[in-house]
Symmetry: C3
Subunit: 655 residues, 3 copies
């Protein structure tokens, strides 16, 4: 069993060669086992077009290898050298105001530009030839945080790709006109090439969706193209490191790649969001994901926007991806840049080569990983609970949010936190993910179910005995975000025999709402109100508006061997917890009993069964267990209550 | 007597023909008596240039007519079809950054562009020919919410129109230089065509004023041009629906048109602003105005920015325009769009054709209108109190506000609310409106009286016995917003024998101010301080700054048979109410005694005398009456106190 | 001894000639002794290119002279006449979006444009020829608030100047690449002319620094060029009036000029900032500075953003520059503009020629200046305490602030206020200023000491017995703002034998910090933590993070005959005061004992010794004195406690 990687981003090109030995020595001292290098060093690898210099990089890879530090190589396509823009100024993004981006910065080239693509191909070929078989290169990272700069390139290549996409998606312009309802505002087009991009007007939301999607297409295709080239030369896993946004789509991007890579810069205030993402990343591929970037201390891209984190944060933050299904945690960056950008970003070493104040936590994490390596390497996270988080819902809410402040990820993350507080570990899954093996599925704000075979999978899941919590704002639009015209919901009304009467923005100021047991229910921002047929009412409107009084808000419907809980409200945390507990109980899901902000990650596999505990609220926490367990990190044994200190980590295995 | 119209915007072009019968049936059920159609359907009427298709529209107009639902037809010039921009890209606004707007959205064409004007003429001719004599078309709406998109087109046609306007207004460039004081900053011009638009510099406020005015000119001329064409074909009334802003000028726009049309989307928090606008719209023409747009529930152009409104809001909001002098209330929109823009906007039906939760209030309003039709149709609102609200003041404050947060409409609306609380119904009037018949005239923030014959009319009004409350910030600038150089006020200093010593931004932190009766007076933001000659001091500075102590703040001056109350302060509500009561008492105006947020609309005419009561604060209210009155809506009779429920409406007539 | 000037900006070009006599009469009445004229009147002086008309200006200068009012003449280059832009459209700034600024407004020409420079030269020559020997012209002001409009002209001349600067500063592009660390992001250039300006990308901070510096260069060169021309014709002092920002650099600008000119518009809330600037301006040249602009009441460039100031503010605000080392206070403006821009700006007269409410305070100030003229004219401010405020630190923090909210001037001004509260008068000095004569030097946030001979001067200062308070954020970067790679501080670590372990953003939420005497120390935002060698620890981390506990925060180090107090923290006011008192005591500096917000300005010279007292907090204040002193303004004599009223001023001399 190999130990999870503890890694860091290393930029040897920024330093005098004489520093290499010192850096390697200090990495060893810190317990670093993996270095990410090369991602922005195009110029140093190819100082003139077609003239390659890889000697310096071989020296770095070899020195690291000799020290037992593995290497992840990055393709440097985010930052082309000045000779490319000199030769072809059109490689840069053409902005809405008609000006072009210029050399400097990063990610400002057009992913559809043939000159950029050709030059990118060549450097990727060259790197593949040079390092494809290097035994110390254990993975490849494509580009970095791919997302073309600004609000969308408007060059002729991008316009053509956009129009081609429209043709592909809609077939004929008449069909596009019809599906987008373009009689509205006399917007209808006679030819695809008349459709403008999303600029300088109050544009149709479907147009905005497709405009964004066309640019995401280009970025995704660019990554897949690089992967195909590298596969000519290497068997090491290939991925691309992405940020915590699902607009572009993790499933589309990662499908043809080998490993999911993820960069995050969460803080004490929103560490639970990182947990949410890890619960998602784990489900994207069988292979454990790689957490490729996080800060030891603080993000400082332009200035430090936070105060010092409490002791222990660095360690638990390093543990979380590994606890939750990844096989690496890597810091950005090893040694703070000495000049240029990001001069105050957190790091492992200062520019002068001294340890920063979290150095001890880094080293302790390395020791932890060693102690837990057999268990972590021989187990996987397993859970009967799934929570939906779809790329299409993200995009639809981006272009057509329903009410002010409605933010898809925030609403899903609230449900995620509620499930964690219930003492279960949710798998966060996309629309393409199988539902087999789950007992409970929760699908808030999945605006459309017209997303591949999603609707059919859910139907089967419920028929076969699953409990599905649906809503609010789920199944209310078709595949391009339009309303249905003959029903309010795509499949739920017919299936459950209910009628969605009204969707209303609300809080406690007008409507009164309550559970059937008489307890008040606190709606947050939005309520969908139903007339029920057969189902069992769980909550309803109890007063405030005579047209709405008595309407159902939450209901339970037996379907086949399973059930659907139809939920029409965004709710405050307490009510959301009540609903989640109810669904878990209906499904017979066992829950962990926890006190405090404890994340429990149940793992099992050839190395046995156990739990990784991570405290993320900087407070004391307790887990109740029912049989003796041993902490692999401290050697302690517990019989009933397991105390966890603020930001503490434990790896418990059955005694 | 015809019943006031209860109408809605209907977009049959967005729906399959098969929906028409259903929609008409549901309109009947809702009590809808009028539909606004056609306003954005240019492409459907003229799919290719010069090739007209009106069959579908005839079918809609006829089906509505057969059901007894009248039609208001809109010209679709806000949204030209794609073939226009394809043939003439210069129809789109040329923006400050040198780029042109593009097809999509609306109101992004240049009102000075000859190709746009020609194509607009042709579709208007075609519609006139086709529907000019249709008996079911009872009115015509020109364009929609006319106001060219963005911050002013900069094309050659607009620049020429702007320079032509300057020449027209100033005669010679030397005169322009002199009146704008262009020795300042060496700005003076040698030719009109050197004067730039308002972009890319810290520009002269007079230039900014003229730049905006030139664009308003173009939009106004465009509407008048359409009206002239339609008059070749129809006798039905013609108007254009405008929003609650007076920058462009309701008087200039509506003068040559037949009916004032108004769109508003007020909320519980600012419903009194809608009342203010209705009190203004009523005075623009003898013909009752049309409220062409309001929401049944919420505005949702991009997202819903409010919560559910309390029950009754929809009804009282529908009644207000009719109570206050209009003859229609129309909802935007009948049936929520199923795709494209504004997918979450409030409506009467959902996209799937179901009633929204305010459907019952809509129907009740229709029943109300029937019950009150004889009285409403045979009476008009009459009042002896007028409040000034001038287009020129709006424009001057737009370009040259005096202190931070100074907003002309807000300051006038505060006075309006004070008058309503005093139990009178103010006519809100523009500068061109006659003053005959009024006993009290209130003119706050009328920055200039050099506005047609305004000064002379006021003088006559006072000489003949009227009470005029003048100020603050009234008569302090000349017709282009410049200071006088030989006096501080245009006519008031000489006329009243006073001297305006100082205008100072202030609150209670430095100055102390009080009424002559000893009560404190709370100044809000601004005070003008006077040395009086003959007048009677009503309030003054009592301490805080030795240079200001003792200066007069409010004074009363007998002039001819009338009086002027010179008011130098923006005040908090209580003091403003005190001043209004004082003026009303001086003029011998009878007031209604009301408790609560009640709007009383006194109406009289061939159908007798009566009052329409509308509660707009969502609380209980009472009106005290001195003789028996009967509520036409409920049949109840009252002798002294008339209770009105939250958002309640009553139509009281003398028993 | 001449009386300090009490002056005003006067724009006779905006007024009918007939007003001149009246204005002069009123100036005499107000006590005005100096008028600033001409600064924007290019068009009136040169209505057509090369055709000069100075008759009107001679009449003004002469009329003022006859009345005993001196004149400061301004060159009008901020506002060229329309004929210049007509002939050469390229004189206007070329903006990032590719559009050019246009005629109107001011300061929108490119300081590198040859046509603009040529036309500017010619008008300056013409003015020099005409007025160079006029005995009533006692000074020349170049341009006005020089700073090219917007975010930097991008024209070919500016790009060339920028590239020339880079070549001058870095010699070779290889050196620039190396010093800017341009292997990072593959940014490195092959030629200087490839380096873009700071637009449209996430650019290197060193690039941003140089881009700004190149534009400041141009503005500075433009002023020096004008001065050289004027010196052909006049012996009167020449300066240029600048605002309270040190981005461009007062030292570089004023070095070759004769007199420092300063415009400020401070308010009661930030009057202490004006004091700070006066303490700085005084140290720039031997010649007393000129306060060229301040408001009698309020700034009203676009709207009035403040309320009336309390009585006395105008007088103390007028006194401050004179008390603190200047020889003039001038108001902007004499008479409010009657049309055009800035129509609500505070002034001495209203547009109609009436006194504003501060007229009495202006006149009283004039009387004060007369009474104190011998003392003020015969003394200078002298103090043993200096506070650093460097142009380079300002620029570096502009481009690379360390943490959110970090604002260089604000942090230095906090230290300045602390020193004032300690009862000393700090000289605020730039990097080029001599340290001779000082006992205490305080240097917060001097990011780099690589700034001329600054480091060496400080070293000598300390060796010779000075007390230097260094830090926080001092000496932590090299001359272009890059980190050192072999040490954390440029000279301090080696010199003092300390090690800067960590710089951390913090507040009281994580770390506990305390003085060695046990008192808590409240860190504000930032702490630098040290391991000490020999020094004496004054404050340290006492808890919160085991990696940081025990680290030194403030320490004292004996060096040569002097000492260094190394301070690693931004602190709350009380702790900052404690530190300043400690440093003053170590240096044996005598302090004034004051209660309240009193500024004490100790002055001495041939006219004796004395103190000018200015109360700036609008409260009562007391100064304790140890020997009898007499107030020259009131004739009162005091023996121990000198009371000062809110916004009061006293000029005390030894009895």
């Amino acid at each position: 069993m190999k130990t999870p990687f503890l890694g860091c981003a290393y930029y040897p090109e920024d330093w005098d060669d004489s520093q290499l030995d010192y850096d390697v020595k200090m990495m060893k001292e810190a317990g670093i086992t993996c270095a990410r290098i090369g991602e922005f060093a195009w110029r140093k690898m190819e100082p003139k077009r077609g003239q390659y210099e890889f000697g310096w990089l071989h020296r770095v890879v070899d020195a690291l290898g000799e020290a037992g530090i593995a290497v992840v190589l990055g393709t440097p396509t985010a930052t082309p050298p000045v000779w490319l823009g000199d030769a072809f100024p059109d490689v840069f993004v053409l902005q809405k105001d008609g000006t072009r981006a210029k050399h400097g910065g990063r990610r400002h080239c057009c992913s559809n530009n043939p000159h950029y693509l050709e030059a990118s191909d060549q450097i990727v070929h060259a790197m593949g030839r040079e390092f494809g078989k290097d035994p110390n290169v254990i993975g490849w990272q494509l580009d970095n945080e791919i997302l073309t700069w600004g609000t969308g390139c408007t060059c002729e290549h991008c316009m053509k790709a956009y129009h081609d996409r429209l043709k592909r998606e809609y077939g004929t312009v008449e069909n596009l006109n019809a599906r987008w309802n373009l009689n509205l505002f006399s917007q209808a087009y006679d030819r695809f090439d008349e459709v403008p991009g999303d600029w300088n007007a109050w544009h149709n939301p479907h147009l905005k969706y497709e405009w964004a999607a066309a640019h995401y297409d280009a970025d995704i295709a660019f990554m897949h193209r690089q992967a195909e080239i590298l596969r000519l030369y290497t068997d090491a896993p290939i991925g691309t490191d992405m940020m915590p946004t699902n607009a572009m789509g993790y499933e589309d991007m990662c499908g043809p790649l080998d490993v999911v890579m993820f960069n995050h810069y969460n803080t004490p205030a929103n560490l639970s969001d990182a947990v949410f993402w890890f619960d998602y990343l784990r489900t994207l591929k069988d292979r454990p994901f790689w957490n490729t970037e996080t800060a030891t201390t603080w993000n400082g891209s332009t200035a430090i926007g936070q105060v010092l984190k409490p002791e222990g944060y660095c360690r638990v933050n390093s543990w979380l991806p590994v606890a939750l299904g990844g096989e690496s945690n890597m810091y950005w960056l090893w040694r703070q840049h000495w000049a240029g950008h990001e001069l105050v970003h957190g790091s492992v070493l200062t520019p002068e080569g001294r340890p920063t104040h979290t150095f001890g936590e880094v080293r302790r994490t390395a020791e932890d990983f060693d102690k837990a390596s057999v268990f972590i390497g021989g187990t996987k996270v397993k859970t009967p609970v799934a929570l939906h988080f779809t790329n299409k819902a993200w995009q639809l809410f981006d272009q057509q949010k329903v009410f002010d402040g409605n933010w898809y990820a925030g609403d899903v993350q609230q449900v995620h936190r509620a499930l964690v507080r219930c003492g279960v570990r949710p798998d966060v899954i996309g629309a393409t993910h199988s539902l087999e093996g789950y007992k409970v599925l929760v699908s808030p704000c999945v605006m459309t179910l017209e997303d591949g075979d999603l609707a059919e999978k859910i139907r089967t899941f419920v028929e076969n005995g699953g409990v599905w919590v649906a809503g609010p704002l789920t199944d209310v639009r078709n595949g391009i975000g339009a309303h249905y015209t003959d029903r309010a919901m795509g499949m739920l009304e017919d299936w459950l025999g209910v009628r969605l009467d009204y969707g209303v923005p609300t809080d406690g100021s007008v409507l009164r709402t309550a559970w059937e047991d008489g307890e008040d229910l606190a709606v947050r921002k939005w309520a969908e109100l139903y007339t029920l047929g057969e189902g069992e009412r769980l909550a309803s409107v109890t007063g405030g508006h005579s047209a709405l009084n008595g309407k159902s808000l939450i209901s339970r419907h037996k379907v086949g061997k399973g059930e659907v809980i139809l939920c029409g409200a965004l709710m405050e945390d307490a009510d959301l917890g009540k609903l989640m507990n109810l669904a878990l109980a209906d499904a017979g899901v066992e829950t962990f009993r926890v006190m405090g902000s404890l994340n429990v990650s149940p793992r099992s596999g050839e190395a046995g069964d156990g739990l990784v505990l991570c405290e993320i609220g900087c407070g004391d926490a307790i887990l109740q267990i029912s049989r003796p367990m041993k902490d692999l990190l401290t050697g302690e044994t517990f019989r009933d209550n397991v105390p966890v200190e603020p930001y503490g980590v434990r790896v418990l295995v059955n005694e």
